[in-house]
């Protein structure tokens, strides 16, 4: 069999920023359709493969979570640079979601409230140099990079992700059906 004539597999990568992994759970929730997906697609960098950096140019990059710290921004920029189509998946990536509920408070106040009120009076605000610095506010990803597509939902359902992926891979403009279109 001449394998060189087989069409090149679509390269998909996924990443997560400040979020809960719910959107990745929804991706697993496409159930047995995962088998149809891996027929035509290859999963590159992803928490599911534990590959940390994109190996080749990615066709479709799905990213969940909001920008909460400096590392999130670094991951997002690297991911954007490697992806042909970048897809913001879920409420956190699209509008900051749950993490952005801290935006009404000053980040210094939050840290001292959470870590500074130890009974012995000493501050235990984590300051290990390996820890990424928190941003002043939580930001949606389109504040920092260009985003090609958005899939709303908290999380979007497996059906919504499947509809989006099959539309995009099939060359159609991705469009969610009404029951799949929700913000919660």
């Amino acid at each position: 069999m001449n394998t060189s004539s087989a069409p090149r597999k679509i390269r998909i990568a996924t990443a997560t920023l400040g979020g809960c992994f719910g959107c990745h759970m929804s991706l697993l929730d496409i159930d047995e359709r995962l088998l149809a997906l891996v027929e035509i697609a290859e999963l590159d960098r992803s928490p599911l493969t534990d590959i940390k950096h994109c190996g080749a140019k990615i066709d479709i990059g799905l990213i969940e979570g909001a920008l909460c710290n400096a590392e999130n921004v670094h991951v997002l920029r690297e991911f954007r640079a490697n992806c042909k189509f970048l897809v913001a998946v879920g409420a956190c990536a699209i509008n900051g979601g749950l993490p952005a509920q801290r935006n009404r408070f000053d980040v210094g106040d939050i840290l001292s409230k959470v870590y500074g009120d130890a009974p012995d009076g000493r501050s235990r605000v984590p300051d290990d140099p390996e820890l990424p610095l928190l941003l002043d506010k939580v930001y949606p990803i389109h504040d920092v990079v260009r985003v090609d597509y958005f899939i709303p939902g908290c999380p979007p359902s497996g059906d919504a992700l499947w509809k989006f992926l099959t539309d995009l891979i099939g060359g159609r403009t991705p469009r969610l059906d009404y029951p799949q279109f929700h913000f919660d």
Binding site: Y149, F150, F181
Partner: protein, 238 residues
């Protein structure tokens, strides 16, 4: 009187109207949905949210304030008008704090339902993340100003129907905000009651009844299965 004396066309469809009716009211009565937020059949038109913007004889205007007139050519269901409406919704979303997953109104919120109807996939603009207060002083209701879109339906209901004048709009421009008419500024110090019209008109999750949050499960809520264009028309808004 011939038909053309009491009808206009809406996206090519002939709509009959009664004298004094607005384009929005006539369209709704004829079973055609025009997206709207601040308009309510029980109150005089307000014309502030602009979501019902239609093109009448080539000029854009609010369907809720323009009186129907014989022979008008009205366009509503066009990609251009939906784009305008989408931008208006995006601006409403970014200027408040609309965190749908944590809102009891989710699933029956008109702002959210219109975003679904008009397929608003992202807020697009930079979010304001404003600092707004929550007033939980009333025993039966709480006010979450994070979600207020300043449609003034509560202002109109409290003033025109309840005769209590509990709410008002203060400030100008981006400083606009709803205030409560009591010495403390708190809802708990007013005679606001569950039977008030103002208690039921809020289209978003800014005025919410306590103790019944999330009573309706996801999947059984007002706009879970059908878009607002069908649900609200079926509810026979007049």
């Amino acid at each position: 009187m011939s038909d053309s004396d009491s009808s206009f066309t809406l996206d090519g469809r002939i709509i009959a109207f009664a004298p004094g009716q607005t384009i929005l009211a006539a369209a709704t009565a004829a079973g055609v949905y025009i997206p709207h937020l601040c308009a309510h059949p029980d109150f005089p038109p307000h014309g502030s949210c602009k979501l019902c913007t239609v093109t009448v004889n080539g000029r854009d205007g609010s369907a809720c304030t323009i009186q129907a007139a014989p022979g008008q050519e009205v366009r509503s269901d066009t990609p251009e008008l939906h784009e305008i409406r989408r931008v208006l919704l995006q601006m409403l979303f970014v200027e408040g704090n609309h965190f749908c997953p944590g809102c009891e109104k989710s699933g029956r919120c008109k702002l959210q339902a219109l975003a679904y109807e008009i397929e608003m996939l992202s807020p697009h603009f930079v979010q304001f993340f404003p600092h707004r207060e929550i007033d939980a002083s009333h025993p039966e209701f709480f006010l979450d100003f994070n979600r207020c879109i300043m449609c003034e339906l509560c202002v109109r209901a409290s003033r025109d129907v309840d005769g209590k004048n509990i709410f008002a709009l203060a400030g100008r421009g981006r400083e606009s905000h709803i205030i409560v008419n009591s010495p403390s500024g708190k809802l708990g110090d007013t005679d606001f009651a569950a039977t008030d019209k103002a208690a039921e008109v809020c289209p978003v999750g800014a005025i919410l009844r306590k103790e019944i949050g999330f009573a309706t499960p996801i999947g059984a809520r007002l706009y879970d299965h059908a878009p607002i264009s069908r649900v609200d028309l079926a509810g026979q808004e007049k």
